[in-house]
Amino acid sequence: MTVEPAATSEVHRQHDREQEVLDRIERIRRRPARVREERITLAHGAGGKATHTLIEAVFLEAFRNPALEPLDDGAVLDLLGGRLAVTTDAFVVSPLFFPGGCIGDLAVNGTVNDLAMTGARPVALSASFVLEEGFPVEELQRVAAAMAASAQAAGVQIVTGDTKVVQRGKGDGCYITTSGVGVVDRPVRLSASAAQPGDVVLVSGPIGDHGVTVMLARGDLDLDADISSDTAPLHELAGRLLDAVPETRLLRDATRGGVATILNEVATASAVAVVVDEAAVPVQPVVTGACELLGIDPLYVACEGRLVAVVPGSDVDAGLAALQSLPVGAGAAVIGRIADDPAGLVLLKTGFGGSRIVDMLVGDPLPRIC
């Protein structure tokens, strides 16, 4: 085909201008994170881009150190000749009690799981309570009993704690913060930056159960569905996987922001592409249904008892078998692969057979009007 020279140069000019615009955006993208809002909004707590910006611009900026910098679920410290994992997590949930558990279960399992995701054997927890004036003691007792049961199931003890009471109207009944320590006695180095092309992505069971359960339990939707939270300790499951696949690159529990957010963190930290097969992602029909009604994507909905693992491609069968060897991992599945390019992106082959980019959300997934 012959192209007239004038047309060719015009095409080139257009291309150059487009490249200029893209370069400018890239420069803006590389600037240090900055919080634009004057006040904290709910989006800053949703686990998405707004949370990341806040953490980088405020906390990382103030606290910067090598143990914090990877921003993993917990920090691993070389101490007294061993490796000690430390983590902390604050729990706010409304309602406090929901099908499948309560804030107490979340507070224990959440911190146990953050420890487990570093490859540690959880040892002990602390628990701090911020209680609102007027909160029924009977409910607090139920929360404490749930924490005790969850701690026993996870093989940890709650060894220290603190209690504060705030005036009526200044709290939401009960907030709990738990911290945990664990011992990393396996020779593992798990990190969100360790994923490599050729690796595979596993998830330990159906996603989105917890988030949808809590949304329905709030009662705003006037929907009833047979579903309960997936809150569960994952340290045994993580142990099985690490025994079977010592080369496991990383483990994350898919809480706030869901699986999509974690995969975006992996893609960015490891400078790889994560390619997900939507048809392979396990989702219970009731979760799919609720998400369809609300116009939200289960990939962004929180789980409280599911882990995402990245393992070398050659270990996929061993990894999957290890996860499926425990009831909590019975629904485990391979959902994707790691590729080298385009680095930093999560790509999805949709169930419909198309492809798209799965971005990290700014804040909470919001129901759509249209």
Binding site: V275, P342, K349, F352, G354
Partner: protein
């Protein structure tokens, strides 16, 4: 899932895509606008464009109801929310839309009582449960949501609930389509008509598009196969030299619309002389306001509003991007004054808007993304 999976079947999609490809004439390009934001969402969510031949392009239209609300109206709503004893209620996706001085989320953080609801009836429930508060519903959307807003006003009147009002920002679809059609540099070959809106207004109001402008329109459903089938219907019309209004979404959309819903809208609301659309400017008779008879439910009459118009910067070229005349990066303010964090025009507000999508992912080659995705998934 029943009633959903059958409209998402990849094999059927392949077959429809092949029929679309077969109708493409060599060296001809086809550009269709999907008017409705719901369609844009489906196209994006399912990666539907992978099924379209290179010669077919879909342009995202002005039908994202939260994106077209001008900044001044967001500011007005926040001014209402800042009044004493007011609870402002809003659909979820409106919360993040920025006005001239922040979004609802920012106003909430600054102390305003702003709550997310799933329907105007939920807002009425809040009014019923909080008799000492003034509850205002931020009413937005096309003819799709206007009936439920109107119905809620009627119910409030019937129940004698006098602490409830609506801040009416309902818009109508036909004037927006007209504004696009009247553009001298229009480059569209046809339209995918808005399915939800059409359940209310029917298909007849679109007839002028075919008759006077010679452009085909197919009212389309919201599942990915609905959209592919609608594109095929448009391609067939073009191949046969026709320009008609056709209804792909007949399982939901009656040709004559929903008379009862239209009556309810007409009872409570009337056309405004003009209304500003974000990015498109003022369009006459393009929005609804509360009738005098229901003045006590009209937040615009109850509250004093600043009513300050926050002008879209002159350089904003959303209109041209919407019409397919300009690519996002060709707009004068793209990536400088207008970014996803500080959006000026509609195309940047929603993450699915043409400009926001280009800002976030324009550096990645679309066909490369597709190739990597299909190859890698094929491996596992």
């Amino acid at each position: 899932m029943r009633y959903v999976d059958e409209f998402r079947d990849a094999d059927t999609a392949q077959a429809v895509a092949a029929q679309i490809a077969a109708l493409c004439e060599p060296d001809r390009h086809y550009t269709f606008m999907e008017v409705c934001g719901g369609h844009t969402h489906t196209i994006y969510k399912h990666g539907l464009e992978d099924y379209l031949p290179e010669a077919v392009t879909l342009v995202h239209g002005p039908g994202c109801p939260v994106c077209v609300i001008p900044m001044g109206r967001v500011d007005d709503a926040i001014a209402i929310a800042e009044q004493p004893d007011v609870i402002l209620t809003s659909f979820g996706d409106m919360l993040r839309v920025p006005g001239g001085r922040g979004s609802f989320l920012d106003a909430k953080a600054a102390g305003a009582d702003i709550r997310m609801v799933y329907s105007p009836l939920d807002a009425l429930k809040i009014a019923r449960n909080n008799p000492d508060k003034r509850v205002v519903f931020m009413a937005i959307g096309f003819e799709t949501t206007a009936p439920s807003t109107a119905m809620t006003v009627l119910r409030a009147a019937a129940e004698g609930i006098d602490n409830f009002s609506i801040f009416c920002n309902h818009v109508t679809i036909i004037p927006a389509i007209k504004a696009i059609l009247d553009s001298p540099d229009l480059r569209l070959d046809g339209f995918l008509g808005p399915g939800h809106v059409s359940t209310v207004i029917g298909c007849r109001p679109y007839e002028f598009i075919a008759r006077d402008h010679g452009k085909p329109l197919v009212t389309a459903g919201f599942e990915p196969l609905d959209i592919l089938a609608s594109v095929l219907m448009l391609m067939r019309q073009i191949a046969e030299g026709r320009a008609d209004v056709e209804n792909q979404y007949a399982r939901v959309v009656p040709w004559h619309g929903n008379r009862r819903a239209l009556e309810v809208i007409g009872e409570v609301m009337e056309l405004r002389p003009y209304f500003e659309w974000r990015g498109l400017g003022f369009i006459s008779q393009s929005a609804l306001q509360v009738r005098e008879a229901y003045a006590s439910y009209d937040a615009e009459r109850i509250f004093e509003l600043p009513g300050v118009r926050v002008a879209d910067p002159k350089a904003c070229q959303c209109g041209e991007v919407l019409k397919g005349v300009l690519k996002p990066w060709e707009c004068k303010v793209f990536g400088t004054a207008c970014t996803p964090e500080t959006p000026i025009g509609t195309c940047m507000v929603s993450s699915e808007g043409a400009c926001a999508a280009y800002y976030n992912f324009g550096r990645f080659n679309r066909s490369h993304v597709r190739e990597i995705t299909l190859t890698e998934v094929g491996r596992s």
